[in-house]
Amino acid sequence: MENEYIGLAYLCAGLLLIAVNIPIGVSLGLVAFAGIVHMLSEQAALSLLVSAPFNLIGNWNFSAVPMFLLMGFVCTDGLLTNGLFRFLRIVLCKLPGNLAISSVGACALFAAASGSSVATSSAMAKIATPEMLKYNYNKGLATGVIAASGTLGSLIPPSILMILLGVTANVPIGALFIAGIIPGILSALIYTAMIVIRTIINPKLAPRSEDRFNWENFTQSFKEIWPLPTLILIVIGGIFFGFFSPTAAGSVGAFFSIVIAFLKGNYSLSLLKTSSIKALEGTATIFVIMIGTDLLTRMLAISGLPDLLTEAIISNNLSAIEFIIAVGLVYVILGMFIDSIGILLLTLPLIIPIMESMHINMIWAGILLIKMLEIGMVTPPVGLNVYVIKGAVGDTVKLHTIFKGVSWFILMDVLTLAILIAFPIITLYLPNLAK
């Protein structure tokens, strides 16, 4: 059997193991090891096992993962994210559907701090959805807006997915972070425009709340929330102006988030322990998958399968955009079964060589991949974020109502994606400026 087919056979075996609930990293690592033994030798496979973990850990950029995870967990456990929704509903009180729009903004800020779509959706569904339901908002809108806006977490920096993409595809993480800012804001603005237009056409969707702007409320809630946006600005601004590397930014962000959380009085040593253990758990989980992916990448490279795929795609005259859309469709399907970190790391070994051979700008493509991964998080029948919302709201709202509500946001995501594909400058403007 030719090596390409051996590579393909082991890749399929890995997918089969994943399908029967074997940890993703373990599945990929084992089949990659077996594949290398099959094609080369036991000695070659063992020597790769020696180098893979240390190469990954020795990568300075990977150290950003525990730091940003720690910052995210401290921000959420220390309740630094509290008050965002309340503040925005005061500021945006004049807009139709202001509670839903405030949810989009609060999710975007919450996500920027926590870096996790699932954590954002889960927390915001408990804060914002009950308020919207209290004012008789359409149930689909009240839940769909949170499920969709939670996905902004991966696009708005700092983002764990971007760090992993940067480490795996050898793309500057700082540039990816900065590239995500405008697409993230664009996504939030398009969601907002859709909510406003739908509410103007059908006011019953989002009846007016009793929120009224007054300076006393404004200053009071601003006092509560200002540390979080400031922290995010310092972290992202520091990277943008070249003041520090993403890893340093993560450390500084984590350190100051701890200081702020204690100063605000909502935090304790026991909560700090909880936040740090969650950060460690997240790092180790990602690490095991990355080891598996690293070995799989090497096994596939030995087999020549990526070259064969690249040749097939080029000989079929598939354009870069067609290829990206095809990847997007695969992501939507995989998003029904596996979480976004798993999908990204699972598919990158095959995607990167093809993108490189097509000379696709990896920063632009990376942002598109992340946007598509996040769409996969809300697509039926098994959009992970939708289930998170369902878990948070309980029997109040039916699952199909959430999916129906989120479908409007998926349409808007497709529109955003089309804009980002048609105008790469939207993504690349800020990274070019930062250079």
């Binding site: 609930n21 990293g25 020597s47 350190f255 979480d339």
Partner: protein, 167 residues
């Protein structure tokens, strides 16, 4: 209240001790990098070896010493969409297979790591740096974390089999 079985006590002991060291490394890493940034930007005097200590020591402990806790909590990323449809008994069989395969994977990694650690210790391995920076002790951190993770899985399997005897 019945006393906790010895296996459970051992699992807790191993994972708690290694997690404590991992938490310590996490905070040391955060403080060192933050201090390095502050000193570098304000006084133009970065702390020499920050990248080396972080990459070769703190990160090794952060990642590998968390593996036992990861096994205790069963918190690997996996896809349970098919297995979740089966009965609890079948699910447990897949769970045991998963644990055995994880042990196999960790064993390969441990075997490679032990060989590397011995070689590294004999040669007093240093990092590529503009000063002498020994990295051989860190190689043993990898071995320690993996060995503890395997021990936790073994104890869990022993407990699992004892609690679900074949009838």
């Amino acid at each position: 209240m019945p006393a906790k079985p010895v296996t459970e006590k051992l699992i807790t002991l191993i994972s708690r001790t290694s997690t404590f060291l991992a938490v310590f490394s996490l905070f040391s890493m955060m403080l060192l990098i933050t201090l390095d940034v502050i000193l570098n930007k304000l006084a133009g005097r970065p702390i020499q070896g920050t990248i080396e200590v972080t990459s070769y020591y703190f990160m090794v402990f952060v990642v590998f010493l968390t593996l036992p806790y990861l096994e205790k909590q069963h918190s690997h990323i996996s896809a349970d969409f098919i297995v979740a449809r089966f009965s609890p008994k079948v699910q447990n069989i897949f769970n045991i297979i998963g644990k055995l395969l994880t042990t196999l994977f960790y064993s390969f990694l441990t075997y490679a790591a032990v060989n590397q650690a011995i070689k590294s210790t004999k040669s007093l391995e240093t990092a590529m740096s503009n000063f002498t920076f020994y990295i051989w002790p860190a190689r043993w951190g990898v071995v320690l974390g993996l060995a503890c993770a395997i021990a936790v899985i073994m104890l869990y399997l022993a407990q699992n089999i004892r609690n679900n005897p074949k009838k």
